[in-house]
């Protein structure tokens, strides 16, 4: 239920602009990997190429390979729709479907696969996904109310529930806590800790403590200057990135010194 990701020689372009250059990385199944680095260094860009969401942006393209358990998701004949069904994504801002109830939101992805669900299956799945996202107790009495009526943190957990309801192999999160208060953030960090028992989790964060708290491995990206491509500087065990990084650049960044 959880896949290994191998990124090989990945270059990412927006039109002619080379946004990210030569990323090599191996992400183990059932682990949490954090992407850190200054703004504009390409963290979101790399993350979105892991489920081909960058293709939504006109002109975006990649070269290189991304292997999920050995299968290149950029191989000939691979349908991005199928990739995205295996690789779920949670966005920076919670985006539940406003016209759908909480329950419909959770089931939205499952319904897509044209699976017919009996009422009891739907109820079970809703409960399982919401429990998985640590939201069940807060919403179990109002499953049929709109998802947009929840608080920001609850909405974000609803989005996580929606993403895990389809039982993906990999879960990508782009700054999932950046719009949340510390308590909701803590709830989601706890959740990420639980999620890694089942999924391969990749999370982008600007919060170093968060990276240190939740991740097993950390990737530090940096950019030489505006207009230059972002690069993967160091990818290592989180503990060693934060205690004795190999590269001086990494050390400068995590200790708050730049340049």
């Amino acid at each position: 239920m959880s896949k290994q990701i191998d990124i090989k020689d990945l270059d990412i372009f927006y039109g002619d602009f080379r946004a990210v250059d030569g990323v090599q990385m191996q992400i183990k199944p059932r682990s949490v990997t954090a992407f850190i680095g200054p703004s504009g260094c390409g963290k979101s860009t790399v993350l979105r190429t892991l489920n081909r969401m960058h293709e939504v942006i006109p002109g975006a393209s990649v070269s290189g390979e991304v292997l999920m358990d050995g299968n290149n998701i950029y191989g000939a004949g691979v349908d991005p729709v199928n990739v995205r069904r295996e690789v779920g994504m949670v966005f920076q801002r919670a985006n539940p479907f406003p016209t759908m109830s909480i329950k419909e939101n959770v089931l939205a992805g499952v319904r897509l696969n044209n699976r017919r669900l009996s009422k009891s299956e739907a109820d079970d799945l809703t409960e399982r996904a919401l429990r998985g996202a640590n939201l069940w107790n807060e919403v179990k009495d109002r499953l049929n109310l709109p998802g947009s009526g929840l608080s920001g943190g609850q909405q974000q957990r609803l989005c996580i529930a929606r993403a895990i309801a389809v039982e993906p192999e990999v879960l990508l999160m782009d700054e999932p806590c950046s719009a949340l208060d510390p308590i909701s953030t803590l709830a989601i960090e706890d959740l990420i800790n639980d999620l890694k028992d089942k999924y391969t989790v990749v999370i982008v964060t600007h919060n170093m403590q968060q990276a240190a708290r939740v991740s097993d491995k950390t990737a530090f990206f940096n950019i030489a200057g505006t207009g230059k491509p972002g690069k993967l500087i160091e990818f290592n065990e989180t503990s060693s990135i934060f205690s004795n990084p190999d590269k001086e650049e990494t050390e400068n960044y995590i200790s708050g010194r730049f340049g």
């Binding site: 489920n51 969401m53 939504v56 006109p58 729709v81 199928n82 995205r84 069904r85 779920g88 994504m89 966005f91 801002r93 985006n95 539940p96 479907f97 406003p98 016209t99 759908m100 939205a108 992805g109 897509l112 696969n113 709109p146 947009s148 009526g149 989005c159 929606r162 993403a163 389809v166």
Partner: protein, 340 residues
């Protein structure tokens, strides 16, 4: 209550008592009243202009309604004293109701035909078409809206001649449905200038309005919603169903209602195409008439009571349009999305 006690405190007792006193705006007066909001001339001019514009619309609308009512006086009197004076000889209501039905039927057909096409085109140009082609299609649609209705009328007359064969076929195979029933001798309109032809031309006339309005709405779908659907593994069509259409629902309703308004009131094209006659259920034989076309065709020779009759008919159309728009508002208010 609490505010009044506070203000009396903070003023005369001086700055020493409360730290807030020192933070007060310099413009606040010593008597402790809350500072007046600053009025800027630009804001004033703007709000006055909008107020005038708003009032003007109401005045014009009321003026039209009053004019119609005043001119209807003769008809109302005739209706009350001697209904047989009115065209048709059976009073105003038996004169007007076939027109109302004809108007509603033609507008409804136009709407039913145009809406799916309009939504399809709008979705295609916003979410499906290659990025180079989409704006071109948009321009073409907007151009359609600029064609004068006389041209549609001429085109409709040309079209009518070509539809007779189709109408005959319809009456042969679907004649059991009353709207496609042939005349008693098994024939259909020889010229093709039937209510169905008029309705089809109307549908093309309202297509551009509905299309460009819905296109604008679909373009505004929040990117985040679209990405949410795609990231769940939605195909493009599924994304449209999950994110684009629910978001645009109220907009779609108002766009179709604007189209309906145009179809109800369209005069020239219908007057040119339709060869009018008595109300019949069948849409493929000649007959039927709409309000706007009735007025246009009879107005030039009308005088006295006949003129007043036509204006009263216009009043009826005014009321119908008003009701339709109010209905549309109610629907929009009920279906609009709350929250993000």
């Amino acid at each position: 209550m609490p505010t009044s006690t506070q203000t009396t405190e903070s003023g005369p007792t001086g700055p020493s008592s409360e730290p807030e006193a020192g933070q007060q705006m310099p413009s606040s007066k010593p008597d402790g009243r809350a500072p007046k909001a600053v009025v800027r001339p630009g804001d004033r001019i703007f709000s006055a202009a909008t107020l005038i514009a708003g009032i003007l619309i109401l005045v014009i609308l009321a003026g039209v309604a009053l004019f119609l009512l005043a001119q209807s006086k003769d008809t109302i009197e005739a209706q009350l004293t001697d209904p047989s004076q009115i065209t048709g000889g059976k009073g105003f209501f038996s004169y007007v109701w076939p027109l109302v039905i004809g108007t509603l039927i033609s507008a409804a057909i136009a709407l039913v035909v145009a809406t799916p096409f309009a939504l399809g085109i709008a979705l295609f140009t916003t979410h499906m078409a290659p990025r180079k082609l989409a704006p071109v299609l948009g321009y073409v649609i907007d151009l359609l809206a600029a064609i004068p209705s006389v041209v549609y009328g001429l085109w409709g007359i040309a079209l009518a001649g070509n539809l007779t064969g189709f109408y005959l076929w319809l009456s042969q195979w679907f004649g059991w449905i009353p709207i496609f029933a042939p005349a008693a001798d098994g024939s259909v309109s020889q010229t093709g200038r039937t209510l169905l032809t008029a309705s089809l031309v109307l549908s093309i006339m309202i297509l551009p309005i509905i299309t460009s309005l819905t296109r604008e709405i679909f373009l505004q779908t929040p990117r985040l919603q679209e990405e949410a659907a795609l990231a769940l593994g939605a195909t493009r069509w599924e994304m449209i169903r999950m994110a684009v259409l629910p978001f645009g629902k109220s907009g779609i309703v108002s766009a179709t209602m604007l189209g309906l308004g145009r179809a109800l009131g369209e005069t020239m094209a219908v007057a040119m195409i339709l060869s009018p006659g008595v109300l019949t259920a069948s849409l493929v034989v000649s007959g039927n008439q709409t309000i706007a076309s009735e007025i246009a065709q009879n107005f030039p020779e009308a005088a006295g009571l006949r003129l007043s009759e036509l204006i009263t008919v216009g009043l009826v159309l005014f009321v119908i349009t008003l009701l339709v728009n109010m209905g549309a508002r109610a629907i929009v208010a009920r279906t609009s999305v709350k929250g993000s």
